[in-house]
């Protein structure tokens, strides 16, 4: 409430036209992030996390139809001509990918690549851009940044490469940083370094962060708000405490129960969610989670016939869940 959101997404739909028919990869999601805040998007593989972030950036392939609103500082991005979008990409909104090695161009030095990102949005000489790039590399903790700027991506370790990618994303002081699984490919010790770096950057520059992750531990640590996606839709949305202490959707509860923990002695068994996630669009009516849901019997027919909408739940933020079960489901046995 403190700050107006810098990025708002309303009722975002992404449909792919494929040979096998239409694939509704994202079927109506909403989220918002305020400056300096972190929104985490969690969900299973294929639930539409990456597609949503690519849609925000206007980076989807040409066989994708995007509907809905993406507002950056109140300005609509959906439908903007490519030329206008180009000025926003990398400048106002920047992206950090999961796999830093493939995200960097193997043929150019890292200094050149960071400098290119700067030159694309600033009318400066190559030399000035490179100086800026070196400052950025230094900022993200690359030792001897000036000398290392001449090196190529394959000459860096995984963690260092991810730092380079982050430097490249931050070089234009973006308002929003979208990080798609930024630490999944990294060891925990390096993950800790990178997450600390992202936090430092946020406090220093007030960047809004959209963090896509499947690691609930990381989410608990850095997120302010969480969006739980399931099969291209929002299953639950709320503050990080809402999700971890007051989860209202059976799927969120399932995720929490299924996660083994390093800080407590093991329980006898992990709770599991039976089955596996549906492919997009395969559930036509009712609740997409219904085939795997342990609570559907309590609700009955409605879960199969009527699609649950997001409804408010008790909590601190805009806690909402898309489930017909009115009260909070008790923790599974």
């Amino acid at each position: 409430m403190a700050d107006r959101p810098v990025l708002e997404v309303h009722d975002l739909h992404v449909t792919f036209r494929t040979e096998g028919g239409l694939v509704p990869a994202v079927a109506g999601i909403d989220f918002a992030v305020a400056p300096g805040k972190t929104l985490a998007i969690v969900g299973e593989s294929g639930s539409g996390k990456s597609v949503s972030s690519a849609a925000v950036m206007g980076l989807l392939p040409s066989n994708a139809d995007v509907k809905g609103e993406v507002l950056l500082d109140g300005r609509e991005l959906v439908g903007l001509p490519n030329d206008e979008l180009r000025k926003i990409r990398g400048n106002d909104i920047a992206l950090v990918f999961q796999d830093a090695l493939s995200a960097l161009n193997p043929y150019y030095s890292v200094g050149w690549q960071v400098a290119e990102a700067y030159r694309l949005h600033h009318d400066v000489s190559k030399k000035e851009a490179l100086e800026r790039a070196v400052r950025m590399l230094d900022l993200v903790g690359i030792p001897a940044a000036k000398a290392r700027a001449k090196d190529y991506p394959h000459e860096f370790s995984g963690g260092m490469r991810q730092r380079v990618v982050i430097a490249m994303a931050l070089v234009n002081d973006p308002k929003v940083l979208i990080a798609d699984e930024p630490t999944t490919a990294l060891d925990v010790t390096v993950q800790a370094q990178i997450m600390r770096l992202l936090e430092d950057v946020q406090t220093e520059f007030g960047t809004a962060l959209v963090l896509i992750s499947h690691d609930l531990g990381v989410v608990a640590e850095v997120a302010d708000d969480v969006l739980v996606m399931y099969a291209g839709r929002a299953a639950e949305h709320g503050s990080v405490k809402d999700l971890f202490y007051r989860a209202a959707h059976p799927y969120s509860l399932g995720l929490l129960g299924a996660m083994p923990r390093v800080d407590v002695p093991p329980r006898h068994r992990l709770t599991t969610i039976p089955g596996s996630p549906p492919s997009p669009g395969s559930v036509k009516t009712g609740c997409p989670f219904q085939p795997r849901c342990a609570y559907t019997e309590r609700v009955g027919e409605r879960c199969i016939t009527e699609r649950p909408e997001l409804t408010p739940r008790p909590g601190e933020g805009n806690h909402e869940a898309a489930c017909h079960l009115g009260r909070r489901p008790e923790v599974a046995p």
Binding site: D187, T189, D215, L216, G217, A220, Y245, P260, P265
Partner: protein, 344 residues
């Protein structure tokens, strides 16, 4: 089970024993260059006893997979001794290894890549029997499938018709076909979603109860390992730096590296304040590891002595718990119970 395996069981029930095992991979270098090698596994003693699950953790490149493949005799050690079921099999090759291979089976990380896409599940499950010269009956195959929670209807299907978790089940079923004593699982769940990962971890636990299996569980995810391991071995640059009963190592890590590693794992507890030890720098290259203690370049406790000779595994706080460090951390008496106990 057949008599072969019961005969070779040793009194101590050691299914697997590695003594001073090393594996160096030669790098292809030109003749005039100094020959280089990757010291992937650099002097490891490792024991797995019947009925126990040993977790093997460590950062990428620390040699976990190499150790796993040495244990299953998929790789020949550069030095040291590999004993399986009490027999020294270091020098064994080819046909002679068959009965040994049967006792130890391997499950791989990527269920997609380790299953032949052109073979039906039935054919995939028949292969290990064939390798032992057996023709399995359909009932045997169905029995296998049911052990991993699949059913007869899946027999005629092909790998691409299954989800990731199901494919991993098929990989496990294939390993179980020859009734092994020990499953060496290399990152069995790291390609899976959390909810599916839990299914597979529970399956592994069930199979252990039902069939009395033992496991070596290689994983980089320390939480996954904690869920199932009885004992834990922590690897760094090709060596085991700490080893002991899992409960003890997790609650009271003695080696600075283990402590840093555990503290780096985020916990699903919003607002939890943790004393995180953030390691600086990168893992050194296994081609030219540091002198003395391999961890000294990143260690927050390193002193001069650490650079001279490599510390060996020595008992800490008595018992089974050992660490290779000159200045091990004092045991943590649960002075600081994790916040999360209360949600339990």
């Amino acid at each position: 089970m057949t008599e072969a395996s019961s005969k070779s069981a040793t009194p101590k029930d050691e299914l697997l024993r590695l003594d001073g095992v090393k594996k160096y991979f030669g790098l292809g270098t030109a003749p005039w260059q100094r020959s280089q090698s990757v010291k992937a596994v650099d002097g490891i003693d490792f024991v797995v006893r019947r009925g126990e699950t040993v977790g093997l953790v460590g950062e990428s490149g620390s040699g976990k997979s190499t150790l796993a493949r040495l244990s299953t005799r998929l790789l020949d050690p550069t030095a040291g001794k590999v004993s399986i079921g009490g027999q020294d099999v270091t020098k064994w090759r080819g046909r002679r290894l068959r009965p040994v291979r049967r006792k130890i089976q391997m499950v791989f990380q990527d269920p997609q890549a380790s299953l032949n896409p052109r073979q039906s599940v039935g054919t995939i499950l028949t292969t290990p029997f064939r390798a032992q010269g057996i023709r399995p009956t359909r009932a045997q195959l169905v029995e296998l499938l049911s052990q991993v929670g699949l059913s007869e209807e899946h027999l005629e299907r092909y790998p691409h018709e299954f989800s990731g978790g199901q494919r991993q089940r098929i990989g496990i079923a294939r390993a179980l076909a020859v009734k092994p004593d020990l499953l060496v699982c290399d990152e069995p769940v790291s390609a899976l979603d959390v909810s599916v990962q839990a299914q597979v971890l529970n399956l592994l636990a069930d199979l252990k109860d039902e069939l009395g299996l033992s496991y070596v569980l290689v994983a980089h995810d320390l939480a996954v390992v904690r869920q199932v391991a009885d004992r834990l071995a922590v690897m760094y640059l090709g060596t085991i730096v700490e080893e002991g009963p899992a409960a003890e190592v997790y609650s009271s890590p003695a080696h600075p590296y283990t402590r840093a590693l555990l503290s780096a794992v985020p916990v699903p507890e919003p607002g939890a304040v943790r004393d995180r030890i953030v390691l600086t720098g990168d893992v050194p290259t296994p081609i030219d590891p540091p002198s003395g203690c391999p961890f000294r370049t990143r260690c927050y406790k390193a002193e001069d002595v650490c650079a001279t000779t490599r510390p060996v595994l020595e008992p800490v706080a008595g018992g089974d718990h050992r660490a290779a460090c000159y200045f091990p951390e004092a045991p943590l008496e649960l002075s600081n119970p994790p916040l999360s106990e209360r949600t339990q």
